[in-house]
């Protein structure tokens, strides 16, 4: 097992290259398409022969995309903020306090995490139409918070369990209430966990397609993934392929940056709460 010979290194290196190539190639492909000129778009080459930024200019010149981008960012940020705050409160209680109904809350979150989202689409569609929430930001933010909460609660509870809680005791001994101890001592220590959770929740909201396409009907609240699917056949684009690819790259870049900078945190966030039972 511990033979660190050059051959072993080479073998691992080859496997690594394979994994990286496999993970990256659809991303590189869509990037390549987004830089192709209309004339070379259908040449089937992996690397563009002629490079152009025309596709990006086109999408940023249309209201259809810019509005959707604003919607996507706004909705995902608001949903993330609320989900992380509510999740942090619940996770603190779960990991630190003894109270009735704790296991029930964990059970319900587990149920929601496994819930088939399409089962909610029909009732939510009808309820939101009646309440006037259909095709509005809150109409999407609410289901996003709901489905992000289990993720937030589990990830944060796992992080909270690693915090040195003696500090909290010390604070309380010095006369702080439980709430003060939470706000002044524990919250700063929990910041990295909160941040990681926020990234995971943001990725979830950013990724959603089913709710976004079912609970919106106009540019007022349509998010980018949905707008992308409507580019197809839209009359203002002669051939939407280049525009779709450019828009796809625009919404992919932030995620890739997140992943590049916070790889370690995301991995620990995704794995921490998972299997310690």
């Amino acid at each position: 097992m511990a033979d660190t010979t050059t051959r072993a290194k080479l073998r691992w290196g080859l496997l690594d290259v394979f994994v990286v190539a496999f993970a990256l190639f659809p991303v590189l492909w869509i990037m390549s398409l987004s830089f192709k000129t209309p004339a070379t778009l259908t040449d089937g080459k992996f690397i563009p022969r002629e490079w152009t930024l025309e596709n990006y200019r086109t999408i940023f010149a249309t209201d259809q995309f810019v509005r959707a981008l604003v919607n996507s960012i706004g909705i995902a940020m608001i949903a993330t903020t609320i989900a992380v705050v509510l999740g942090a409160m619940a996770a603190y209680a779960i990991s630190r306090l003894d109270f009735p109904g704790k296991r029930l809350l964990i059970g319900v979150s587990l149920l929601i995490a496994m819930f088939p989202q399409v089962s909610l689409v029909s009732p939510l569609f009808e309820i939101e139409r009646q309440l006037g929430l259909f095709d509005t930001w809150p109409g999407l933010i609410l289901p996003y918070i709901t489905f992000a909460l289990p993720l937030a609660i589990y990830t944060l509870s796992a992080f909270f369990k690693q915090i040195p809680w003696d500090l909290e005791k010390a604070a309380k001994m010095d006369g702080a209430t439980q709430a003060q101890a939470f706000r002044r001592v524990i919250a700063p220590l929990a910041a990295p966990g909160l941040f990681t959770t926020a990234i995971l929740v943001f990725i979830f909201c950013w990724n959603d397609f089913l709710f976004a396409i079912s609970l919106t009907s106009t540019e007022r609240s349509r998010t980018v993934p949905v707008a992308l699917s409507f580019f197809t056949g839209a009359s203002q684009f002669e051939d939407p392929t280049g525009a779709i690819c450019a828009a796809a790259v625009v919404i992919t870049v932030p995620i890739i940056l997140f992943v590049l900078f916070f790889q370690r945190r995301i991995v620990s966030g995704l794995t921490s709460g998972a299997v310690k039972g």
Binding site: K9, F99, G101, G107, P116, Q117, P123
Partner: protein, 333 residues
């Protein structure tokens, strides 16, 4: 976790109702016990309980309001004839919608497609995910790069990846289509399904791998060394030492991926839009509801999907024991 770990569909509503009343009922005897018991602690204890409930209340309320009530409402809708194009004809029809859906061949085709996609993708992902987890965990060079690269499919918007696959398989535009076939693979059923599965596997294998890697981290290094000293081969170390330790992690990963695979929607929507009988159950429920505006039938399908998912979860828990996927930890999406 005992009772509520079993996510039997019909119990959800009951469970959620319990949360509301159960919390209150449990609090009363507890306070009484405190008053009788250790008096000096009770003030503190009661404050702790109150704070605990208070902190959990907003999260619990949101989750209940957005899932509990709508699920009941969709059961109610599924018992009605309710087509938004003909709202005047709305009436209570009992189980008639269920008969309509369950005797419809499109529903069963979609059900078969969804099952096929679920079984094949989860099986392939388990094998690939295990390989990827081993690489991420054990590689001697470039661990950071591998982990970062593996996270990219996880982070990318499914619709974006689906478009990438679609163009790659479009004749003329895509090099994959030009390389591997002379026809248009996305216009034939078998090849369409294969591409949908490929897209699903690409997107979710890293997630499976991350869950398995968490299990892999629990395997004691000493145990592997000992097995090695005793002359165990790499394969024996894997099957006799690693797999048993990783069993809970594998079960959690399988359960979550199975239920997640069952709701496949985005990839199918972009890749084929359900053409040539490639619709999943989510896809036809969506079509009936948003395209067809038939709330009655759409809700019936929603309820049936919900019941199916509940059965799958139940079978998992029953087959593999409540200890694994139902234990306090174990969630990921």
């Amino acid at each position: 976790m005992s009772g509520n770990a079993t996510p039997a569909g019909a119990d959800v509503a009951a469970d959620e109702a319990d949360l509301r009343t159960g919390g209150r009922q449990a609090a009363v005897p507890a306070q009484r016990a405190n008053r009788r018991g250790r008096a000096p602690l009770s003030e503190n204890k009661r404050a702790e309980r109150r704070l605990g409930l208070l902190l959990c209340a907003p999260a619990a309320l949101v989750m209940l309001a957005v899932t509990g009530y709508p699920i009941l409402y969709s059961v109610w809708l599924s018992l009605q004839r309710y087509d938004l194009r003909f709202p005047a004809e709305r009436e209570f029809v009992g189980l008639q919608n269920y008969v309509t859906v369950l005797t419809n061949e499109f529903w069963w085709t979609a059900f078969g497609v969804t099952m096929l996609i679920t079984v094949v993708t989860v099986a392939v992902e388990l094998v690939l995910g295990m390989g990827l987890a081993l690489i991420m965990h054990r590689t001697l060079v470039g661990r950071g790069i591998v982990r970062t690269a593996a996270l990219i499919p996880y982070g990318i918007v499914t619709v974006v990846a689906a478009f990438s696959w679609r163009y790659a398989w479009t004749p003329g535009t895509g090099y994959l289509a030009n390389l591997f076939s002379d026809g248009a693979p996305l216009t034939e059923r078998a090849s369409s399904l294969a591409i949908i599965m490929l897209a699903e596997i690409w997107k979710t294998t890293p997630f499976m791998a991350l869950l398995l890697m968490a299990g892999l981290a629990l395997v004691p290094e000493d145990l592997l060394k000992a097995a090695s000293t005793d002359g165990a081969t790499a394969w024996q170390r894997f099957t006799k030492v690693m797999l048993p330790v990783m069993k809970p992690a594998i079960l959690v990963a399988l359960l979550f991926r199975t239920l997640d695979a069952f709701r496949v929607f985005d990839n199918i929507y972009v890749l084929t839009a359900g053409a040539n009988d490639t619709s999943s159950v989510s896809m036809i429920a969506y079509n009936n509801l948003i395209r067809g505006l038939n709330l009655g039938i759409g809700s019936t399908m929603s309820v049936l999907i919900f019941i199916t998912v509940a059965i799958i979860a139940f079978v998992f828990v029953k087959l593999f024991g409540t200890a694994a996927p139902g234990s306090d930890d174990g969630e990921r999406r």
